[in-house]
Symmetry: C2
Subunit: 352 residues, 2 copies
């Protein structure tokens, strides 16, 4: 194996490192007046709404560098923030990136991480406008804040859904979770051995969903094209159940979804069978899908039904009916948020 170049961060110093990581950052958005290099970035959103979201990713909690390549990690760290802006029916425009870095990491490592962040920014048309770079006692910390824009009359919150609205979800669910299970299993199996070849053939989709997720910019564009403004929208980061409960709680409604309508990919189903896991549980609670969950008035049924990659999985009900799923054998089960519960069980996180 070729020896990778390793430049110690101390060799560049703090400002040298920042210069290296942020060189050649042409600004793409008219709203970005000034990016990296001052006390604050300067943006101009004119009559648009400004949307702000933030995510904190900690080594050992949100990612495991034994199987997550740094470039993928950078890409994903940026994309999960973009996803929150799309979930407001907005467009991400700028990010700030703060890093806490232990001595274990070289300049080249950080360039890999930044290569992923830059790639995501290029693909999604976002400007990197600032951040903070710091030493860390242990591991890698990544904190990204994303700023985006929305039209005043088209920004979508969680609290606007109404009885009889249709519940729609993009893509498919549970694959990212199964990808994580697969990676964890291979890590356990091959612990301590080098040059192993993990059994990943035919499971590429699961790995991609876990390691290099995409945000659904395309769905937001499709909604605009069809002149659909959802009554509520969220991205599926903690799991479908958890997100639905948020929407219903904030809107003061109940909901009913149908097991048979929950979109699940073939690879996800195969993997669940191999692991002897409940497939629907993975789809409901797995999290990290970064699909869009939204509701539209019943009158827009034909429009959303015609949208590629959109599944109508149920409808909003009166609050007294609670939040439940109708199983394939017509049983009614109550939805629970069993998704990531970081502070109770050491798995990822909660956003507010």
């Amino acid at each position: 194996m070729e020896e990778k170049k390793r430049t110690e961060i101390a060799a560049l110093g703090e400002f040298g490192l920042i210069d290296r990581l942020t060189e050649n950052l042409p600004l793409k958005n008219a709203s970005t007046l000034k990016g990296v290099g001052d006390d604050a970035a300067i943006l101009d959103y004119k009559e648009k709404r400004v949307l702000v979201t933030t995510d904190l990713l900690l080594e050992g909690i949100h990612f495991d560098l034994t199987y997550v390549p740094l470039k993928h990690l950078g890409y994903k760290s940026a994309v999960v923030n973009f996803s929150d802006i799309y979930a407001m029916n907005g467009q991400p425009r700028q990010i700030t990136v703060s890093l806490g870095i232990s001595k274990r990491f070289s300049v080249e490592d950080l360039e890999e991480l930044y290569a992923g962040i830059r790639l995501a920014c290029d693909i999604y048309g976002v400007d990197l406008v600032g951040g903070d770079t710091s030493a860390s006692m242990t591991g890698l910390t990544i904190s990204i804040t994303c700023i985006g824009e929305g039209d005043a009359d088209k920004t979508v919150c969680r609290n606007g859904t109404k009885e009889n609205d249709l519940i729609c979800v993009s893509g498919d669910l549970g694959a990212a979770y199964m990808g994580l299970q697969l990676l964890e299993r291979e890590k356990a199996v091959f612990a301590g051995e080098k040059d192993f070849t993990p059994a990943f053939e035919g499971r590429e989709y699961l790995l991609e969903r876990q390691l290099k997720p995409e945000a659904r910019k395309d769905i937001v564009a499709e909604l605009a094209k069809r002149d659909i403004v959802p009554t509520a929208m969220m991205d599926v980061s903690d799991g479908l159940s958890s997100e639905l409960l948020h929407i219903c709680r904030q809107s003061g409604t109940g909901c009913r979804i149908y097991e048979e309508r929950i979109p699940i990919d073939y690879q996800t189903a195969m993997m669940a069978e191999e692991f002897n896991m409940n497939l629907v549980t993975a789809a409901l609670n797995g999290g990290e899908d970064y699909e869009l969950l939204f509701t539209v008035p019943l009158t827009r049924h034909d429009d959303v039904a015609a949208m590629p990659g959109i599944h109508i999985i149920g409808h909003i009900t009166a609050p007294s009916l609670g939040c439940c799923m109708i199983t394939r054998d017509n049983a009614e089960i109550t939805l629970r948020a069993q998704g990531w519960n970081s502070l109770a069980e050491d798995s990822p996180k909660a956003e507010c």
Copy 2:
């Protein structure tokens, strides 16, 4: 000593914790349309410029909980971000707060931290509009992003200073650094002993500057009152030398400051003597003062000279003259950025 109540975070769960920490957050600013509780906050800045800055604080690097009370830490974490917005001649309006928390911390601990953040927000008129709360393997991580507003024609960057401009600084310098030295000494002296009484009498100012710094909102207001728009401005977080070098590098100038004009408090001077440290080095390179360093055209001399708490410490020169300080005995020494150099020497941080 009274036993403090300790509620494990797991007892509340992630969303319960967020609800607890963010309850009763009345919004203060017209620009905050929606705060905590959705995928993103929604802001409306109309014709104003949007300013964005971010800071990452890591336990063991930026703070030591053996002598920093959590409430003070919360206050300082917020205030240092406000300081960056004032340094653009803007007004902070919103913050997002992301926390990484290990099991060591109880709900009550986090309430203490938040009490400090809330106090800072109340005093400075800022809304807490979102964040991310996560488990952490080790220690406490605090990442705050601040959004502020500025007038299009009054936002001040680092790159606008010109030859002959006057160099001004608010307050005094070096006290926060001496406060840190004092705390570190007392920690070392009393390591292992309980109920010790550290020798802090007569040094309250130094401790306050280190533990509970303020951002110079008042100076920004004074500048506006006198219709002064600085040609360049920064806050002094890394140390006067480092900040001056940034301004000169970005503006393509040199500078000349005078040792005798650098404002230093009596307690700072006494402490430096006790520690046998070079006082001017502490003032030039100590950092964390959060004072404002700015330049104005020579024609505004009388106006800035009349401003309370402002010291004119030198002037901007042609770039060929370099950046230097004239000592009390008329020697010329070149300014160097010896401030915090986190990645080289394990002290705090660099912002971009």
